[in-house]
Symmetry: C2
Amino acid sequence: MAPKNLKAEAVSKVCCGKARDIPLSERDADELAAVFTALSDPVRLRLLSIISSASEGEVCACDLVAPIGKSQPTVSHHLKILFEAGLVDREKRGVWVWYWAVPERIKAVASRLR
Amino acid sequence: MAPKNLKAEAVSKVCCGKARDIPLSERDADELAAVFTALSDPVRLRLLSIISSASEGEVCACDLVAPIGKSQPTVSHHLKILFEAGLVDREKRGVWVWYWAVPERIKAVASRLR
DNA sequence: TTAAGATATCGATAGTTGTCAATATCCACA
DNA sequence: TGTGGATATTGACAACTATCGATATCTTAA
């Protein structure tokens, strides 16, 4: 709150006008908020950063526990949230589960922020 | 989890390797997560959409309560969170407070998602 | 079939968050 | 100076979330 151009400018604008339509619908807002919720945790952001930058394009879940420094159930929980948000995909191969990023989804979210 | 290319492919990759560095630092992850937390609520996303699309570039807080359909304290609370996240700026003029978006900040966040 | 290991789920708990009524603060105007 | 109105803050409460230990599920190998 910097300058103090008071009454003159304040009154120069019509204030408290009629309620316009909100650009973002309630449904869209709910969906977008759900994705941002998935992105709102530092552990998940770090998991996503590891998965996205994997040199082979994918990462074994077994390689995600140690670097994160949380328990295995906690990491599994966060991976599930990323998966359900559509930010990563996964596939079970034998005993292991491999995760990879979904760039289209990530870009789609980013484009909503412009 | 679709195909079943079991042992062969599963073993073809070295799994459970050594912990690499995480691309996203803990500090950066915390900061990014804080912004995404601000974006993780549908009411705040709708507020931001109204503010961002304001024809005059800014909106009076008094015009934000009715369309959102929440109480005045609730809207004030959400506006504060958007402000503290750097997503909007504001200025008090007389009795009213005007809000406008901070596109550079919004773009900066979007670019982190690419 | 059994054993061992990787991952997911469950149950519990502490901490966080969205919401509103009540109240405080701030400002213009009479 | 005091009154009315716009916005912010406070206090309280219900709902949600991150975390972990314990356990279940699934898969390979013996």
